[in-house]
Amino acid sequence: MSDIIGLIFISIGLAFDVFGCLGLVRLPDVYNRLQAATKCVTLGTCSILFGTFIVVGPTQAGMKSLLCIIFIILTAPVAAHAIARGAHRCGVKLAKNSIVDHYQDDKEGENVIN
């Protein structure tokens, strides 16, 4: 029974992975791609690892997969934030039909203060 529940978790994770990568291909902008891909693929991989924990049981591999879930949840948003900040600072343009850019206003304020 726990095998079936774990395989269902792994299937949900695979679906999230594939649709995250589809967003990485289809969306028009660096920031939109980052939004889609990072969130979807992080959740999908965490779901795959949790399904691995349920299938394997509390053995060595299961405990290591729980550790890997914690590590991925801690590090993926940091990496995504660093990529977005670096892209905006090195001058990657937004998409044509985007309507607001608050970070640009904040950077102009920084220049006035300094």
Binding site: I10, D17, V25, R33, V41
Partner: protein, 129 residues
Amino acid sequence: MNQISEETRFARWLVGAGLFVAVIGLILLRPLPFLFYPDLPYLGFVSRAMYIILLACVLCLFRIFKGPSAADRIVAVDILGIMIVGFCAILTVATERSWYIDIGIAWALQSFISTLALSKYMEGKGFDE
């Protein structure tokens, strides 16, 4: 980039969506043989799952080759690293050997550090700022 007419864009969208659905249906209905470990407990599920993750990796590679700016490529490399962790997890389910998930942990750590280094390099500043 010159202007593309509306019909051409719709035709390209239709071809891409048809290819995507066809490849996923082919993987789910008739997966290629999975030759490394011929007798596994979850052989059908594991082979389908591995080919689906390889399809996602191929989409990431498309973005790496085509991406117009450097930030696109960095995003795609980061996503590829996270997805290889899932690949190692599926190998752990298949073979019940715990060192595959060790490879996954090490790969996640290395991918995180390299992504931070590349984004800081793209920003044009040092680490200590």
